[in-house]
Each structure stands twice: as structure tokens, then as C-alpha cells.
Subunit: 239 residues, 2 copies
């Protein structure tokens, strides 16, 4: 008799299916049951990335997560999704959870992890983060030698953001949305507008790189501003 199954959180990277790892591709292809979050009546972005690797007879658990200002509905959706996954695990089968980017880097997988890791074995396969993808697409190095890199969610209040921006040599501002105007102002006040670059939907066919001043307001969810204060002089060849 076999024991319970494992939940495997699989990082899919930023969007280009070619940026899925060999391990993740194999794991998805071998999965009997996959699970992934989706907005109601919308295509799941995670499933779109993983699509080339999903076998035809794989069972799919869709976790519909509403976006509401209140906490309750999303939490209830993750409660229900975790319960459905637990049923499969308890029956002795693994469940592969599809995760955009990296499961533990601002990923919704963490809601399932918080609910199930105490009772079931969990494995995580890391993924390419949106920050690494944006840096590569922009051709803009993130961080070298003894530099500090920070990732900053734009919804933080401006005083906190200013402090965190000052405490880093380079930083990525995520989750721009309707905060982009405030971020733009803040970067201007800190004298960093010239070092800031904007990118949206990195690695997808829809990818756009725009001057900061021309970035849309509100910005799409999959957008980012990358700031490198100054290249480390060690990197440069001697003059």
C-alpha cells in the first residue's frame, strides 16, 4: 500500500515556454494531476506557459480565485483548492501545481503551501523570476560584486519605498498597476529617473520596453521598473 502523494510546486518562469527548466518540463509531462489558479472566466497564465508540456490525459484542477478588495473570497478559494488537492494526495497521487515565475517569489503557490505543507510532503522546483527575465530582456545587469539588490512591491507607502530604494544599489519595482505615477514621482525625487527602465510582459510576444515617461498609467500587472544606480567600476575595462 502506498502512502499519500506529494504536492510539487513547479516554477514556469516569466512566460516564454522555452524558459521552463528541463526538470519542470519533465515533471509536467509526467503528471497525472495538475492544478493551477485562474481568474474566473479567464485563461490561466500558468497553464498557457505550461501548455506545450501537458500530456493529453492529464487531469486538471482549476482553482478559481476571485480578485476582490475583501480578504474573504480569495482565502475561501484557496481553502477549497487546497481541500481538492488534499483529496488527491490522500488517495496516494502526486499533484503538480503550475506556478508563474518562481513558486516562492511572490507566487500564489504560497497560499497552497501554507495550507498543505504541514500535512503532506511538498517539493518545489524553482523557476526563472520575472526580475531575472526583465534584466536579461533589457540588457541591464542586476547586481555585481558587493552590491545590494532589492525587490520592492509598488503598493508599499512612499516613505517605506523611498527608504528601501535608498538602501539598495539596484532594485526592481513590481506590481506597478495604478501606483506607477507615484513610483515615477518618487524616482524623480531621488534623482533616479535616468537609471530607471520600464518593461512589460517580458519574454512574451507582447513584450514592450518603453521610456519611463511613456509607460502606461495604470501599468499592466506584468510590468516592472528596473533601476541600477551605477555600474560597479570593477566591471569596466581599464580606460
Amino acid at each position: 500500500m502506498t502512502g499519500p502523494g506529494r504536492m510539487i510546486g513547479v516554477g514556469l518562469g516569466p512566460g516564454d515556454p522555452d524558459l521552463v527548466t528541463v526538470k519542470a518540463a519533465r515533471c509536467i509531462g509526467a503528471a497525472k494531476v495538475i492544478a493551477y489558479p485562474a481568474l474566473p472566466d479567464a485563461e490561466s497564465f500558468a497553464r498557457r506557459i505550461a501548455a506545450p508540456f501537458i500530456a493529453a490525459d492529464t487531469r486538471e484542477l482549476v482553482i478559481e480565485v476571485p480578485i476582490t478588495p475583501a480578504r474573504g473570497p480569495a482565502q475561501a478559494a484557496y481553502d477549497a483548492g487546497a481541500a481538492r488537492i488534499a483529496d488527491v494526495l490522500a488517495a496516494g497521487m502526486d499533484v503538480v501545481v503550475l506556478c508563474e515565475g518562481d513558486p516562492f517569489f511572490y507566487g500564489s503557490f504560497m497560499y497552497l503551501h501554507a495550507r498543505l505543507a504541514g500535512d503532506y510532503e511538498v517539493e518545489v522546483i524553482p523557476g526563472i523570476t520575472s526580475v531575472a527575465a526583465a534584466s536579461a530582456a533589457l540588457g541591464q545587469p542586476l547586481t555585481a560584486r558587493n552590491e545590494v539588490l532589492a525587490t520592492l512591491p509598488a503598493p508599499l507607502d512612499s516613505d517605506t519605498l523611498r527608504n528601501r530604494m535608498e538602501a539598495a544599489d539596484s532594485f526592481a519595482v513590481m506590481k506597478l498597476g495604478r501606483h506607477i505615477g507615484r513610483i515615477r514621482t518618487l524616482l524623480g525625487e531621488l534623482g533616479l529617473s535616468g537609471q530607471a527602465r520600464y518593461i512589460e510582459r517580458a519574454t512574451l510576444p507582447e513584450q514592450r520596453i518603453l521610456p519611463l515617461a511613456e509607460a502606461p498609467d495604470p501599468a499592466p500587472y506584468f510590468s516592472m521598473i528596473l533601476v541600477t544606480k551605477g555600474a560597479d567600476p570593477w566591471l569596466k575595462p581599464p580606460p
Copy 2:
């Protein structure tokens, strides 16, 4: 007549060849010329990761980089390596540069990028960072919702480190080496020892996870301390 070739910096991830992306594996397999750094008389770690994907007839440019306290010898090695790569590019052939982790995240690729990006087309394929790999191997989420994540090189002075640790909700301390004792003391002073986890050689067969107090001093180069101050309460299911 064809123009000059492109330099392609390929991220290989933290060490497990299965954590190479589909894109990187294909790019390496199709390469006519690859280049990678190596310590004198030592196996190149980047080449070790990429080995399963390298074709038999691929030409290999080894860039021997000495580790010395002085700046000159390493800079001269990158000058010479960049010149050899430039010769191949000028002859119209692409050069695939193998990079541990992600090329733009504390990667030596940036030394080549600084020397060649002004004159030649450069493409970067992002890789799994050691931070994402450590988080996955530890089963310890990095950052959720509106939390700030920072990556901190251990050689920074203690005042700077303390400030940066205070200005983040979670952080990774990299490049521990002979600084690990000082980092341990600092984490104790900040009351963070209980939330700190130590890992070395994540994703390799030699991977070890140790209690912070038992981590070796000096720590190996490929080691990291991950600190998550407190799980975001939103992640948890209602009591």
C-alpha cells in the same frame, strides 16, 4: 557576406543540469563556440553544469581567471578573454558564454558584457538564481504580497549589513566565506537567528542544510543564509 556574430550569455542555474532551461539547453547544443571562466588548474563549474548539452565538436574558449587580492590580474584575464571572444564574433560566428546561475545576478559574465556590449550584439538567457534554488531546497518561501526581499553580499561592512537587514522583510546573505562568523553575530544581535537557515551547494549531490550554529567557518563559496522575518499572515488559512 554575414555581419559579426552575437555573444549569448546563457544562465545555467545553481548546479543541477536539470535546472537548465529548455532555451539554454538548445542554445548550448547548437553552439559552434562556447566560452567560460575557470580557475587555473580547476574544473569549470559552469562547464560541469552544461556538460550534458555540449556537442562533441564544439570549440571551447577557456578564460582562466586568477583569484588574487589585487585587481589587475583578473581584469587582465577578462581583457584577454574578451579579445578572444571578439575575434570569433568579428569572424561572423556566435559565442555562447556559459554562466553559473543567472548571467546578470552576481555573474562574472558582466565583466565580458562590460567589455563587448558596446561593439557587438549581446543576448542574455536568464537562469535560475541561487536564491530561488536555496529557497526551494529549504522549503522556505522567499517573499509574498507586499514584502521586500534583499540580496546582501556578506563582505559588506556590518553597519551597512545591519541597515539593509532591517530594511527588508526577507533577505539572502551571499558570499559567506570567512564572513560567516560576523554574519552569525549580526543575526543574533538583530534577534533573527531563529528565522535564519543555512544551505550550501543547493541542488547539487553535495547539498547540505545545517542549523546556523553548525555551519562551517569559513563557509564554502556556494553557500547562503536565508532569513524570512515572518510569514505574511495573509498566506495562512483562517484559524
